[in-house]
Symmetry: C2
Subunit: 267 residues, 2 copies
């Protein structure tokens, strides 16, 4: 793997801090918190080689201990007020998956009609799910009333609980990539059909329907990028400094230069 850079793991002052650490025996804190460069690069590798898998699933079963680790990772996502609002519906039943697949086909046909004629044929031919080919599907939900109506950190931004459940999705996705498992997020579904197929109560919000399994291959690039549907946007165009309309100051210009030097590991 090409390392993003050869820079040291943390700047000098932070290293000195770690050496003088007087909290090493304090059980409230992590006794040995520093990541080394190899660990850091492994995390970046997961982030940059994660793909939304649709057409490459193998039917191979997922060992219980692997699925256990992946679900445990999802359960350790950040959550507003430590609310842990998620549930996980593990779907292996072929009959249940067939119901959801049938709803996908219906939604997909509706979606096709929403695109301009020029893009419609391209859209129709995209493989967008692996519901039946993957051995396990997982629906991650959000229970917005868990622990009562007042939640620390959700008092002024009501969607924070939903955001927490999405963080669980991304934890699961990255853990799966590190286990050499592919994940595909299927969102071309009618939420009500998904509720009915899984018996999800009215008050629970389905957040993500995920297909999980070993894969023949991981694509080098996101499939929609490779297909020319949309391009990767240049990150500097998405940066703002101190305000939306702010121009980069000297520090901003240095950051933009550093981004140009950053290579995403993508083997």
């Amino acid at each position: 793997m090409s390392s993003p850079t050869q820079a040291p793991c943390a700047p000098a002052r932070t290293d000195a801090r770690a050496a003088n650490h007087d909290h090493a025996a304090d059980p409230r804190f992590q006794p040995d918190p520093l990541f080394d460069a190899a660990e850091r690069d492994a995390v970046y590798r997961a982030i940059h080689t994660r793909r939304d898998v649709r057409g490459e699933f193998l039917p191979d079963p997922i060992p219980d201990e692997v699925l256990a680790r992946v679900l445990t990772a999802a359960h350790h996502a950040p959550s507003v007020g430590f609310m842990q609002p998620w549930d996980f519906v593990v779907v292996r039943s072929r009959e249940v998956r067939a119901k959801i697949h049938a709803d996908f086909l219906a939604a997909h046909a509706e979606a096709e009609q929403m695109f301009d004629e020029g893009k419609r044929a391209t859209y129709r031919n995209l493989k967008l799910e692996g519901i039946l080919e993957s051995p396990v599907n997982i629906c991650i939900t959000c229970d917005r009333s868990r622990h009562g109506p007042v939640v620390i950190g959700r008092t002024h931004i009501g969607a924070m609980d939903v955001y927490s459940a999405v963080c669980a999705v991304q934890n699961l996705w990255l853990a799966a990539r590190a286990e050499n498992l592919g994940v595909g997020w299927v969102s071309i579904l009618h939420p009500q059909a998904l509720r009915e197929a899984l018996g999800i109560p009215r008050e629970i919000v389905p957040i993500a329907y995920l297909c999980v399994g070993y894969v023949r291959d991981f694509h080098a690039r996101p499939e929609l990028e490779a297909a020319g549907w949309l391009k990767r946007m240049p990150l500097p165009e998405l940066l703002h400094f101190d305000a939306w309309q702010g121009q980069p100051d000297a520090a901003g210009e240095r950051l933009i230069d550093a981004i140009a030097q950053t290579r995403a590991p993508a083997r």
Copy 2:
């Protein structure tokens, strides 16, 4: 670090598949996709030692190449229809941060009144943000109209673009942990005050306001858990099998047993 288990990285059939791999020279696919156990464990370490940092920030500057890698990781989050709906407002200005901190104090005082009297004193004394102590704040937003009204995968679940922006938050958070940087998500803010402080246009949704910096310590456990505010829920209680009301079958029981054997690395 204690490895989650000593199990091999992938099951036998998948290893065989990799050995017989006939796509190694096909540039559409990742030529060397398998993670080894050390890389996998590094990813789990980031997931399990990530904390929501409030009171431990150091003022040390973040090197440009580190911030560049962390932002690049966020930009490589999954996004619905490859929409990349995020922007990043990098806030270093003390004046801007002071405005946002003032709004935090106002929102925090309002929030306190929402809790039952028994919990109010505990709430008041929680340290919930590091806006001024951390050297860099980053606001991640979602541009819902990017690339036009019809987006692949957002045709039936309208919030998918917002979910994509949350995935960028979690990528940034895990990348930061691997760089030995702390991140705190401040959500006790009035969205309108945040918009005004940063000049965010009406049509752009602020998703997360993050404090980023090196830290004195990473807490061993989430602070709200350590403070006894809420407990970590047992993962098996959050699992469902094939349907919300479904009881675990033999495969489900084996998965629950495997979860009990999984130790989260938490050094």
